[in-house]
């Protein structure tokens, strides 16, 4: 369709159990879940008391005291990841007017907003809240676009900048937006990814209220069980991933290391329910087929699918149906896995983290496993790579995402020599 192609030339990740790209890759390929009892507040009053937390200390990433005071955790994680990705890309001397920012986040600065609300309302006692006790720069928490601003300022990126906030597909959609900006000629380099830090009382409570998160509090490491018959819901997580998305010729001209090419991106809405999913997976299947068409792939060419695999019964069946609908019999042959079994579900961030996993799976010829898949749900009968990582050639990898609001997204990454 478009002559301009986009490739991934840098990767940065902060995930539970992995404070950088390599630690993240080790963690997800080890299949050892980084899930524990919530440590940042007393989870006792809540139904779900566990989370996939990051041991993220912003000062250890070179973030300054002023930045740490000014910004919510989701922004700080995005900045730290972007630093890693940018260094990894080896970019220098970029035309700053041609460099943009596209950052996904589902819930933005929710931790900061809640903490400051507690102060402004004196513990929820006053509806008309008092501004005199809140921190400065609270406006930057109100509007998550502040995260795009921080990245633009940090890298002097004067091209188009925005936060993409389509709930739990934000992470795929933000990279998709970067891909679109490059295809359309609006930028040559985009700092693209997503970040969410939702482990806060209000977020835990809101998922408790609809029983979306697991109440399996006694054995946290076994609580995230995508596609397993004994799953009881998802495990809330936090994290971030940033990719450097670059126009192909731009990357070739500077002899950059290319992880993969973005060969397909498609989004659909199910127009069905804000939280419910139709069991037939029709719209997600449409998105997958569109992304595959753009990549000019036949189903048998897929080497890996990074599943949404949240570990809710509804999702796992919806998604399985979508793969069968989109890929036909080939759906049974392609290795699929859900890294949410290891690092939980970090809402908008997870889509970008999963795209990072796809890029690394292509580079390294390894598919990470689905942990805790010991008793398969009979209705989920595909190859979800249970137990341990698998060595295999991955020329093309697909990731799918599904989110509140009915958003369904799919993206294909291809090996630079296979695209």
């Amino acid at each position: 369709m478009s002559a301009r192609r986009s490739v991934v030339t840098g990767i940065g990740v902060i995930a539970p159990g992995g404070g950088n790209r390599e630690e993240f890759w080790q963690r997800i390929t080890s299949g050892k879940p980084a899930i524990r009892r919530i440590s940042t507040f007393d989870p006792e009053p809540f139904r779900s008391q566990i989370a996939a937390e990051c041991d993220f200390e912003p000062s250890a990433y070179g973030l300054t005291p002023q930045e740490i005071r000014r910004l919510d955790r989701f922004v700080l994680m995005a900045m730290a990841c972007a630093d890693e990705a940018y260094a990894d890309s080896g970019l220098e001397g970029v035309d700053l007017e041609r460099m943009g920012v596209s950052l996904g986040s589902a819930v933005g600065a929710t931790i900061r907003l809640e903490e400051e609300y507690v102060v402004a309302s004196d513990g929820g006692r006053h509806w008309v809240t008092d501004p005199t006790h809140v921190r400065p720069f609270l406006y930057q928490a109100l509007v998550p676009s502040s995260a795009a601003t921080e990245l633009a300022v940090r890298f002097h990126a004067q091209g188009p900048a925005a936060v993409v906030s389509t709930g739990c597909t934000s992470g795929i959609d933000a990279i998709g937006h970067a891909h679109t900006l490059i295809q359309e000629g609006e930028a040559d380099v985009v700092i693209a990814g997503a970040s969410d830090a939702p482990v806060s009382p209000i977020t835990v409570a809101c998922f408790d209220a609809i029983k979306a998160t697991t109440p399996r509090n006694t054995d946290p490491e076994q609580a995230s069980r995508p596609f397993d018959a004994d799953r009881q819901g998802f495990v809330l997580g936090e994290g971030a991933a940033v990719l450097i998305v670059e126009e192909l010729e731009h990357a070739l001209a500077r002899e950059a290391r290319i992880y993969c090419e973005i060969t397909g991106f498609a989004a659909r809405a199910n127009a069905f329910h804000m939280t419910g999913l139709r069991p037939d997976g029709f719209e997600l299947g449409e998105a997958i087929m569109d992304a595959m068409d753009q990549a000019r792939l036949s189903p048998g060419e897929l080497g890996y699918i990074s599943a949404h695999g949240s570990g809710t019964k509804q999702n796992d069946r919806h998604e399985t149906a979508a793969y069968k609908r989109a890929l036909g019999p080939a759906a049974y042959d392609v290795p699929i896995s859900s890294i949410k079994s290891v690092i939980g579900h970090s809402l908008g961030a997870i889509g970008s983290i999963e795209m990072a996993a796809c890029a690394l799976a292509i580079e390294r010829g390894v598919v990470p496993p689905t942990a805790n898949l010991t008793t398969p749900d009979p209705e989920c009968d595909l190859d979800y790579t249970p137990g341990s990582a698998r060595e295999t050639t991955v020329r093309h990898a697909l990731s799918a995402g599904s989110g509140f609001g009915g958003f369904q997204s799919a993206m294909v990454f291809s090996h630079p020599e296979a695209a």
Partner: protein, 407 residues
């Protein structure tokens, strides 16, 4: 093959009126919706653009009202009005050909405050089952998609006050890539107590209590900006298809859009307006025209001396000193954040339709060398307008709208 995007429907829920006709009439009459703000004793800001006549129960069914925040009610109402204006029934369309794109900066403020209050007063079990879908930034796009059975690519962009134009730009991309129609725009409801507290620290907020004095962009003694609620939703369609639908009004073509970022400082915008000027120039270039073709500018109108200076400078630069008519009708609404860019696009589309520019009110002593439109101005043959929007932190966006011309 160049697929062009045109605006065929306008729905406003704004301090200047609900529905395009009321909004346009009030705007021409200079009737401002900026009013004293209740419960502002402890706040620096004393006035805000408000939509007091908005009765959500007239627009949204009860089942949906309890799931959603005021910001989404406004988006649902504006969407309904835009669809009616375009005489477009999504149920008569192939659902995968339609999309929804909204800009949203602060989400469901009152909804979120109420639920956090419940959590801290009464514990987790008091939190609504709808908190997970009522507060987050994607709620309006999701609810619009469900209500109108829209299954194409849907999106939500957050770039503060530039978001309305960034969403419009995305609608243009979706049309170019094969979409048939996009419901696009933005609303904001940032006047609930805690949302106002979050805004209170902004240095550029006006402290003035007189509604007619508080927000006077480009005035020699400008004092800052006034926040406001509301916004607009538009129906954007592929050009040929729009012409084939009977009884369609084609207001304007989205001829070109562009966005840049100042990338200088997290809060203060640079004085030179260089990236703002570049956004204007790129939008013009993408529209295939130059500055001489532009008949009028709908300016962003920051309302503080530094922001106004940067924009006036950018306009002077881009137009090489030519005195292009500049108007800031949002002087009647305050700055609606994500809703602002969308409402200005609605205003510009109506101006092209009527050959008439809505005025900038309350600015009696302009402090910049601009042709500021302070009375409604007849512009027969008005053909090309430039709409400018900025967001806190350094977001710049510009859109060129062109009247439909049949050669």
């Amino acid at each position: 093959m160049n697929r062009r995007a045109v605006i065929t429907g306008i729905g406003t829920v704004a301090p200047t009126g609900i529905g395009a006709a009321e909004h346009w009439a009030n705007g021409l009459a200079g009737r401002s919706g900026i009013r004293p703000l209740a419960d502002s004793a402890k706040l620096p800001v004393k006035v805000a653009g408000q939509v007091p006549g908005f009765d959500e129960t007239e627009h949204v069914e009860h089942r949906l009202l309890v799931q959603t925040d005021r910001w989404t009610w406004m988006a649902l109402a504006a969407t309904q009005l835009a669809l009616a204006d375009a005489a477009l029934d999504p149920m008569g369309e192939f659902p995968f050909h339609l999309s929804v794109v909204t800009a949203s900066s602060s989400g469901g403020n009152a909804f979120g405050q109420r639920e956090i209050e419940a959590l801290y007063k009464s514990g987790p079990r008091a939190v609504s089952a709808y908190q997970s879908i009522g507060w987050f930034y994607a709620a309006s796009s999701g609810q619009i998609s469900i209500r109108h059975r829209i299954k194409g690519a849907c999106g939500v962009l957050v770039s503060d006050g530039a978001g309305g134009i960034d969403a419009l730009a995305q609608a243009g991309r979706l049309i170019r890539r094969g979409g048939q129609a996009v419901l696009v725009g933005g609303t904001e409801a940032p006047l609930s107590p805690y949302a106002l507290v979050c805004q209170a620290g902004q240095e550029t907020l006006s402290r003035e209590a007189d509604p007619d004095r508080a927000y006077r962009p480009f005035a020699s003694d400008a004092e800052g900006f006034v926040p406001g609620e509301g916004g607009a939703m538009l129906v954007v369609e592929e050009w040929r298809r729009a012409h084939l639908r009977p009884s369609t009004t084609v207001y304007a073509e989205i001829a070109g859009t562009a966005s840049t970022h100042d990338a200088r400082h997290h809060a203060a915008s640079p004085a030179d307006g260089a990236q703002l000027a570049r956004a204007m120039r790129e939008a013009l270039a993408r529209a295939g025209c130059d500055a001489d073709d532009v008949d009028a500018v709908f300016a962003d109108g920051a309302g503080d001396p530094a922001g106004d200076g940067a924009e006036a400078g950018a306009i002077t630069q881009v137009f090489c000193g030519r005195k292009v008519p500049v108007t800031v009708p949002k002087t009647m609404t305050g700055r609606l954040n994500s809703g602002g860019g969308a409402l200005d696009v609605a205003w510009a589309a109506l101006a092209l339709r009527h050959g008439l520019l809505p005025p900038t009110v309350n600015v009696d002593a302009p402090g910049h060398d601009l042709d500021l439109v302070i009375q409604p101005r007849e512009m027969p043959g008005l053909r090309t307008v430039l709409v400018v929007a900025r967001g806190s932190g350094g977001f710049n966006a510009a859109a060129v709208l062109r009247a439909p011309v049949y050669e």
